[in-house]
């Protein structure tokens, strides 16, 4: 009985936490505008008249993108720290943090998204080979 009551109280707390969170969503303005989210949700067959759930989806997307961006920022900073260790002169030049495809693909791979780009493009199959072997 006691255990049941405790679990019931726990559930009430969780319920209230969830409902409080959903209520707080109405005050919080996510970066992704509601109209954009509504458009893509309607395109995918999501039907819900409740604005709070649309805000929930917007906040979840924002969190995901922010996580990916912060992971790629870690990669970028790690790369810059490795370079700065060798050459102290270029410290001023590499101060800017730029979002690149390399960092992004590394961080997205952990989230299960495969974004791979070509390392380089070659003019013909024999580009870069030795001249002797190319003649053959």
């Amino acid at each position: 009985m006691n255990h049941n009551q405790q679990s019931n109280d726990g559930k009430h707390d969780d319920d209230s936490a969830l409902s409080d969170f959903l209520a707080s969503l109405m005050d919080y303005t996510p970066t992704i505008p509601d109209e954009l989210v509504e458009h893509y949700l309607a395109k995918s067959g999501f039907q819900c008249p409740d604005v709070r759930l649309i805000r929930l989806v917007a906040v979840a997307t924002q969190k995901f993108v922010a996580d990916v961006a912060s992971d790629s920022l870690q990669h970028c900073k790690a790369r810059q720290a490795a370079v700065v260790k060798d050459k102290r002169d270029k410290q001023q030049k590499d101060k800017r943090l730029i979002l690149t495809m390399d960092d992004l693909s590394k961080s997205l791979r952990e989230y299960g998204v495969n974004v791979k780009q070509q390392e380089y493009f070659a003019d013909s199959p024999s580009t870069g080979m030795d001249p002797a072997s190319r003649d053959e």
Binding site: Y28, S44, L53, K63, L97
Partner: protein, 301 residues
């Protein structure tokens, strides 16, 4: 936040990108690009590469779409058409499985205390609010379509018992009935008449100019009597044009013109005949001129 155009990516071709046609989702995609740029700036980035931003914008579109599909799937599974918070929580857990979240391995735990929702709650509490840069209108814009009125609307009886009256009405018979065509004539009679008159005028003008040349040559040496006699001859035969020419020649020379001669000339000019008549009397006129010259020599000028 400033953008850096890539050399290997899509960013450098300015003129060719302006030739691309606008796609249906361009508006949503451009808003997503701004959103992602704002999020990256809040995370700490100072610049971005165009290709990387576009890839992240694609993901920011794909993620809520996938979430929505998953949530609606769970709702349909439960026998509902509208989604609720638990459908979304299940969808979030499905998407988060690849990355892992606390409580993923436990089965049968309540969705209310799902760790993913707790993570989102924490994100909302800690992260500061970054509203979107510009106001976004409601899209896509719905246009009221003009529908074809039904049989009932048009108060028509459908031609056939198998057609219900609430269906759109058939088009009017004049839109599909075959009617005889107006035969187009190759020639234009008005234009032909105008062309004929123009040619006639041209020929007459050329003839008159020729006559004037003759007259100018002759009138400087011919005596007045010869001119008057010739003009009388012309009057008698009815060639008003040549009579008028003689008259004008006399006027040019400054000689007194008989009143009755000028009057008759004016009257007969209204009764002038055709081109061939004039041609015939050009010959006669030439002959008359020759005769006058002969007479002049004979008289002894």
């Amino acid at each position: 936040m400033s953008g850096v155009k890539t050399t290997g990516g899509k960013g450098e071709d300015g003129p060719s990108s302006s030739l691309e046609r606008a796609k249906a989702d361009d508006f949503g995609r451009s808003i997503s690009k701004i959103v992602v740029a704002q999020i990256c700036e809040s995370v700490g980035y100072q610049g971005y590469k165009e290709s990387a931003l576009e890839a992240l914008a694609d993901i920011s579109i794909w993620y809520p779409c996938d979430l929505a599909k998953n949530a609606s799937f769970h709702a349909n599974l439960a026998g509902r058409t509208e989604c609720n918070v638990f459908d979304i929580t299940r969808a979030l857990e499905d998407l988060g499985d690849s990355h892992g979240f606390p409580g993923a391995s436990e089965t049968g735990n309540c969705l209310v205390d799902s760790c993913i929702v707790k993570g989102i709650t924490q994100f909302v509490d800690t992260k500061e609010e970054i509203p979107f840069a510009q106001p976004v209108p409601k899209f896509p814009v719905v246009r009221n379509e003009k529908l074809v009125p039904s049989f009932k609307h048009m108060n028509e009886a459908p031609p056939g018992k198998h057609i219900p009256s609430w269906l759109p009405a058939f088009p009017d018979p004049h839109t599909y009935n075959h009617t005889p065509m107006w035969t187009e004539r190759a020639s234009n009679p008005c234009a032909d008449k105008i062309e004929q008159a123009r040619r006639q005028i041209k020929a007459e003008r050329a003839l008159l100019r020729l006559q004037q040349r003759f007259v100018l040559v002759v009138c400087t040496i011919l005596p007045k009597e010869a001119i008057i006699s010739d003009s009388i001859i012309f009057l008698l035969i009815g060639d008003s044009v040549h009579a008028c020419y003689w008259k004008s020649m006399l006027i040019m020379r400054g000689e007194k013109v008989w009143h009755w001669l000028s009057e008759t000339c004016a009257l007969l000019s209204y009764m002038s005949v055709g081109f061939l008549f004039h041609l015939g009397f050009t010959v006669f006129f030439t002959l008359a001129t020759v005769e006058s010259l002969v007479s002049m020599i004979a008289i002894g000028y």
